[in-house]
């Protein structure tokens, strides 16, 4: 055909770009470029700074693996590595069966009050990880009322760490296992039943294999959480050294950044491994369920249901106690000698010069993180999922968005010091400001929020953008008028998730705060360090109260206010 060579065709092509300098595609590409740059600054460059630091000496010269050599030949540091690993293995070995049984009760029995038990198990998510450690100090510590139960062993050390870690990681494991167990094909059970299979054999041949990917994934997640957690060993570790406290001591105590970077890299290994395993198992887990599967519906069985109710009550109670003792103790005059109630412990001026300021800084930081983070993450997910922007850039942005989950907070914080504190970095004015805390926290919790947004967006008809384009309506208008209103529930979920995590996180921000930007969670660590456990417990209680309050507000708003605005969802 000669059409392509005709002169009128040539002019039509030449005329078009001039007509619309700012086409939708360009705007989408531009926004995506900004997102990619932001993620590069937020995650790639700090990680790169950390990696390079591990291969340099204090004077900034390249020393190859010398830092690693020094690390692995230091018996004290090697002890920490060994300690970290066995504590993490033990915690994982305890928490997985506990959480599996709990998740099984929630998904496969007719136990009463399931929403209550579900909420109960999630409680630790609303507290800083070290809160259960504070409770343990009150129960089994030097002045603990149940100290005798340890038969002379000290709670300050592996025992305390493991108990606290089990409490802290329980909800994470349970959530993964509930998901794994709810993905089930009820027909398989009917077939097994019809073939006269005993219950035990059904469990081992149908239930367990069906949940195996969830189990693997949960085990890796728990292991990583434990090995990279900083708050718990800091509060209750005593003389028992682990990797996370080593990093803190090396960087904050000794200003030995190179050694901090080496340990940081070691911490990165299990996290990346967990990430890879989780991705791989996730794909297979979904593949297990065919499109024609019918969800399993448990049938009532009074003996079994009663047993599981008792079990969940027991475990839930332990979790509640692990948080509750610290809350209760924060109102006590002089533990354990004078148990009368007081609000004196909330007069933080007594324990730390900043008084209540860290709490308000935390609120401010959490609010900013929730608002800015949610806006960026949702818009980013939209650009990646729904626009016609460059496929290469969309894939790259998605890859960057998936990175933070593989980076433990402590490692991210270290990377931020190395990158943002570097004298050559034009961004170093950010160091120690509220801005860097917000940037760091948004990055830290980016991936989970990103996935939530993507899932919500994927559920929307993929032709909305095509219809808008055919009606000559630019995508940002459809984004504002249609996409955002439809995704409002997911957006609120993400905002609350961001807020709660920003409030309770310790690990990343401990390296980044400045004199005027000390956060409540850091103040807890400091008060505990200075021996003011009551003050630490009081501040932790404030954070839990705020986090749960925000979540409750979210639920109430969701049910009563937004429900009315979303009339279009009901027939």
């Amino acid at each position: 055909m000669s059409i392509a060579a005709s002169p009128e065709h040539a002019t039509a092509v030449a005329a078009r770009p001039a007509r619309r300098l700012l086409s939708e595609e360009r705007i989408a590409n531009g926004l995506l470029l900004v997102l990619c740059l932001a993620l590069v600054v937020g995650i790639v460059l700090p990680l790169w700074a950390l990696l390079s630091k591990a291969f340099l000496n204090a004077a900034g010269q390249f020393v190859g693996l010398a830092n690693f050599g020094a690390y692995f030949s230091n018996p004290i540091l090697m002890d920490s590595l060994f300690n970290s690993v066995w504590v993490a293995v033990l915690s994982t070995a305890i928490v997985i069966p506990l959480a599996f049984t709990y998740a099984y009760a929630l998904t496969r029995t007719c136990m009463p009050a399931k929403p209550f038990f579900y909420a109960l198990a999630l409680l630790p998510l609303f507290a800083p990880s070290l809160m259960s450690a504070l409770s343990l100090v009150y129960i089994f510590g030097n002045q603990g009322f149940a100290k005798g139960l340890l038969f002379g062993h000290s709670i300050y050390g592996p025992i305390g760490i493991v108990i606290s870690q089990v409490t802290y990681t329980f909800p994470h494991a349970m959530l993964i296992l509930v998901t794994a167990l709810s993905i089930s094909d009820g027909r398989l059970y009917e077939v097994a039943d019809a073939l006269g299979t005993p219950k035990r054999r059904i469990f081992f041949t149908v239930t367990l294999p069906g949940a195996r990917y969830g189990l693997i994934s949960a085990a890796f997640v728990v292991f990583t959480l434990v090995i990279t957690d900083f708050g718990i060993p800091k509060v209750i570790g005593g003389q028992f050294n682990v990797l996370a406290t080593d990093v803190y001591r090396a960087v904050v105590g000794q200003q030995n950044f190179e050694m901090g970077a080496v340990v940081g890299m070691i911490l990165l290994v299990p996290a990346i491994l967990a990430f890879v395993v989780d991705r791989a198992t996730n794909r297979r887990q979904v593949a297990l369920l065919s499109a024609r599967a019918v969800p399993y519906q448990p049938k009532p069985s009074s003996r079994r249901d009663l047993g599981f109710t008792a079990y969940c009550l027991f475990v839930g109670l332990l979790l509640a106690v692990a948080l509750g003792i610290a809350i209760w103790a924060s109102f006590i005059k002089y533990w354990p000698y004078n148990l009368s109630l007081t609000l004196n412990n909330y007069n933080f001026q007594r324990y730390e010069p900043m008084g209540w300021a860290p709490y308000f800084t935390s609120l401010q930081m959490a609010a900013l993180t929730a608002i800015i983070g949610t806006a960026i993450i949702f818009t980013g997910a939209y650009l990646i999922e729904k626009t016609q922007a460059s496929p290469v850039m969309r894939a790259f942005a998605h890859f960057l968005a998936m990175m933070p989950v593989a980076v433990p907070g402590l490692v991210l914080g270290l990377g931020y010091i190395f990158f943002f504190n570097a004298p050559w970095n034009p961004l170093n004015f950010l160091y120690a400001t509220l801005a860097i805390l917000v940037i760091n926290t948004v990055t830290h919790f980016y991936t989970v929020s990103h996935i939530t947004c993507l899932t919500a967006l994927k559920q929307i008809d993929r032709e909305f953008e095509a219809v808008s384009a055919s009606l000559k309506v630019p995508f940002w208008r459809t984004f504002r008028r249609v996409t955002v209103p439809i995704c409002m529930p997911a957006i609120l979920d993400v905002a609350v998730y961001m807020f709660v995590n920003a409030l309770t996180t310790v690990s990343a921000v401990i390296f980044l705060y400045g004199a005027g930007t000390k956060l409540a969670s850091i103040s807890i660590v400091h008060m505990d360090e200075a021996g003011f456990i009551a003050g630490a417990a009081a501040m932790a209680t404030l954070l839990v109260g705020t986090a749960i309050g925000v979540k409750a507000l979210h639920i109430v708003l969701d049910r009563f206010v937004f429900g009315r605005l979303q009339a279009w969802r009901q027939r």
């Binding site: 092509v13 939708e24 095509a466 219809v467 979303q566 279009w568 027939r571």
Partner: protein, 375 residues
Amino acid sequence: MNIPSKDPSVRSSSLRVRGLFKRFGAFTALHGIDLDVASGEFVCFLGPSGCGKTTLLRAIAGLDRQDQGSIEIGGVDVSNAPPSERDFGIVFQSYALFPNLTVADNIAYGLVNRRTPRAEIETRVSSLLALVGLPDQGKKFPIQLSGGQQQRVALARALATSPGLLLLDEPLSALDARVRLHLREQICDLQRRLGVTTIMVTHDQEEALTMADRIVVMNHGVIEQIGTPNEIYRRPATAFVADFVGKMNFFHGTLFEKGKVSFAGINVACDDCRGFLPGSPVSVGLRPEEVRVRNVSPDDVNALHAEVEELEFMGAFCRAKLGIAGVKTPLFADFSANLMRDLAVERGQKIWVALPPEALRVFPNGEAHAQEVAA
């Protein structure tokens, strides 16, 4: 209302596609598509899933850019233009109505952006609602309507901006059979009244035959045939078309002289030779309803003695499986209810049937078609 007229004087090529190629990795979805659609025409893209019909539609819309080739809509080259710069309205199988907007807001969606005065939008929306037979439903949300009603709203939304080209991507596939029939008529009626050039993608041959002015039959990324429904059905260009649109018996044989083919030792007269040289291997095709049964005598042209092996009751007619001595492939014939009653056909009965020479079609041998059975 600003609706395109169907005045024949302005009838010109509304869509012009030349040399379109599209590959997804190793898979070629479109392989050199050339197509012209006249203004005001209703064209159906028909083919099995994966034949490239939806890809072609999306390329025309600019939703999936082609790798090669050119597209003109209304005389404007839009080969590289984004969808927003092409003049079309589109309706999807999934309706794609915005769930959080009312029916009226959905229809007005494209109008609001054009800074049309509010009063004008309101009159336009209510006239469109009346047009698709949903007056007074403007305040409802999409979820409160039935599937067929939602699809009509989607149609009104696509027509609201008076596009020069209306694209329908399997608009009826998600609906119940009864609603589908009703909406089929409504779309045809609407299209005729507005005279808007329309392209509909479908895999349903009945839909294509009843609705289209012209049908484009596609397979494996190429156009097999373009023609009116009558042409497509009566004179299928390829064995694929013959087999995909309607049902056809196929026998493998040889064209042994002009107007004569033989298969399995039987010689039959055949009007359709299509320039095959004597001696060429061919497939001979015949539609089941063309098999003659009434008043056949053994001396008639192409008369064969056959045994009724199976009778399948299909409601309005019976499909008979006929065995012919010496031919392995059975011959399927459709007997009307009326004929069944008159001749009292039963299983096992021997009857004389004739294959009308004018109804026999020959195709090159070995051409791919779904129900090919070696004779």
